[in-house]
């Protein structure tokens, strides 16, 4: 049995946590905005997968990673607009609509992958571009901090910026206030002249943009190609983190990092002789356990308030 402390208290472990938290945290931020507006965006997973595909394919076509990134974000916006159209205009149940979109994305990306590459597994043969890694001057020379925070993919730094930006959006701007107002009580929000559908559309589109950034990281940062179902439940882990953050962006961020740490732990343990089939379940067991514990706390709170 490897020494757990030896694994965790190494700067490299911190580096890995950041490396694996990116898709989870982007998804969590997106889910946080959508759920603040009162809509669960279950299509997170599918949006990420679609963006992962579109990003890497477009970067290969245009031989430019930034165009790939832009196309990926556009695909995220498009997925969100489809979900918005069905939930807000045609009144499809948002959970059912999200499930349908996820299923669609998981096979449609394979369909397109086959059309483009002739393979149903990965796009590795395409020679796609990846987004650059960035060494932060000064920071990179500081012993422990440098190892943890420097030399990451550019999307890692965009992720940290996104946390701050989402914080400002939700806590410091009128739009953020409106999003929260719509989520808390849409009739009250409507009575003071807020256009509910517009606010919800904006929230869903923002969540689609964030999801697509998480998705594109998978194929243009974490790996350098697209592979079938590569998001592997990370969108849902993000949803869980957002749910447990309980409308507080810092809690959402911390929970995401917690899940990222378990993901990194699984990665580290996979190097040892433990059965890898069991190791790969660690992040999912962690999310399962965490959301159960969270709901027990909530339940006790409700009981203490006499609601149950």
């Amino acid at each position: 049995m490897p020494d757990l402390f030896e694994i965790i208290f190494k700067p490299e472990f911190g580096f890995t946590v950041i490396r694996v938290v990116v898709p989870i945290l982007f998804a969590a931020l997106g889910a946080y905005i959508a759920s603040s507006a009162g809509i669960g965006n279950i299509a997170m997973e599918g949006t990420m997968l679609m963006a992962a595909f579109v990003g890497t394919i477009c970067s290969a076509i245009f031989q430019n990673p930034w165009i790939g990134l832009m196309c990926a974000v556009l695909s995220g916006v498009l997925m969100s607009l489809i979900l918005t159209y069905f939930t807000l205009v045609l009144k499809t149940n948002n959970i059912l609509g999200g499930i349908a979109l996820n299923l669609f994305a998981s096979s449609f990306t394979v369909f397109l992958l086959f059309i483009v590459t002739g393979s149903k597994g990965t796009s590795a043969t395409l020679g796609a571009k990846t987004l650059p890694k960035i060494d932060i001057p000064i920071l990179k020379d500081i012993p422990v901090l440098g190892t943890i925070f420097s030399g990451h993919n550019v999307l890692v730094y965009i992720m940290f910026a996104a946390v701050i930006l989402v914080y400002f959006l939700m806590y410091q701007t009128p739009l953020g206030l409106r999003i929260k107002a719509v989520g808390k009580d849409e009739h009250a929000a409507e009575s003071v002249g807020i256009n509910i559908n517009r606010i919800k559309t904006i929230a869903l589109v923002l969540s689609g943009v964030l999801a697509s950034l998480g998705g594109v990281y998978m194929s243009m940062g974490y790996l350098s190609f697209f592979s079938k179902n590569m998001t592997n439940g990370r969108g849902f882990i993000g949803l869980a983190a957002a749910a447990m953050g309980h409308g507080n962006i810092w809690m959402v961020t911390i929970t995401s990092f917690l899940f990222g740490a378990f993901d990194a732990l699984a990665n580290a343990l996979a190097l040892y002789a433990l059965p890898s089939e069991i190791i790969i379940t660690i992040p999912y067991v962690a999310v399962f356990g965490a959301i159960v514990i969270y709901s027990i706390f909530e339940w006790r709170n409700r009981r203490a308030r006499g609601e149950e």
Binding site: I42, I82, F86, V89, L90, K91, T92, N93, I95, L96, G97, I99, A100, L101, L103, F104, S106, S107, F108, V110, F111, F114, I115, K120, N232, G233, F236, L239, A240, A243, P275, E277, I278, I280, T281, Y284, V285, V287, F288, I291, V292, S295, I296, E298, W299
Partner: protein, 351 residues
Amino acid sequence: MLANEKIFQAVKMFAAVLLALVLTFIVLLMVSDEPLRAFSLMLFSPLTKFRYFGNVIELMIPLSFAGLATALLFRTRLFNLGTEGIFYFCGIVTAAIATQTFSNSTLHPIITILISGIAGGLIALIPGFFRAKFKTDELVTSLMMNSILYGLGLYIIKYYLQATDVSGVASNLFQLTAKLPIIIPGTRIHSGFAVLIVCVILLYYMLFHTKLGYSIRMTGLNGDFAKYSGMNAFWLFLTVHFISGFLGGIGSSIELLGMYNRFQWSTLPGLGFTGALMAMLGKNHPVGVVIAAFAISYLRTGSDIMARSTDVPVEIVSIVEAVIVLFISSQYFLRKYHERALIKQGGSERA
């Protein structure tokens, strides 16, 4: 004419299918060198050979079971997608029993299917219990469980059930006594089809003629029903989860014993997730689910045959499926025509 609710629903269904097919054709025009041939193969090839039509029914069996399992949950407003993991894990339970020697070829499959069903039911009780007791989000827990069950199942198959004659993820061959007999010669349609029909009838009866079914339907319409009626929501949720898991478990077992010679799913088979589509298309009604499963199996079989002889991959069927499901499950699609017809009818009656 559109004022009639049933006719309107049929028109809506027809319009959704038409829209989906038009979209598919447009995609085919873009990606294929022979779009017309691909399109007609996709739509009509299952009718050209008896064996092909048999394939439709064969595929319809697991899709129906997954659909029934999911529909029961959705009907109770439980958005649980755990049927996927249950299908995988119960497949391993099935493999463990079906590879044992057993003298009686009537009892062997029955015992295997029942134990697999009970295993499925018990697994479903885990997210069911947390949902019922603490309101834990069953969508998240069931999805996490899918991944956990997959890892666990893979471990069991690799370390305890691994085939001795082939490499890769596979169990030993099932005993011949465990296999389900073929009931229609010239196809591979097996006795699981009869089990499916029985399950649909039982579920229909349960939903519309028992107290349990009434509670399920009312809770589906209004989540607070159970609470205000004084009925025990805790036991309702547990019962629904158990029945759903049981259906998933027997569905998985029947699929393996009917169509496979050994367990060899190296990834999640995707059948459970498709169950969510069946449930949505079938409006969470047992008969509706089976009709939806037939339609989707028909399309998938057609696409499969098409994929074998054209340049179009079978996944094109996902476009049809997604478009139909999204439009069918939307309440407002075409509704203004329905309302207009209603108003007109009301006006003429008054006059």
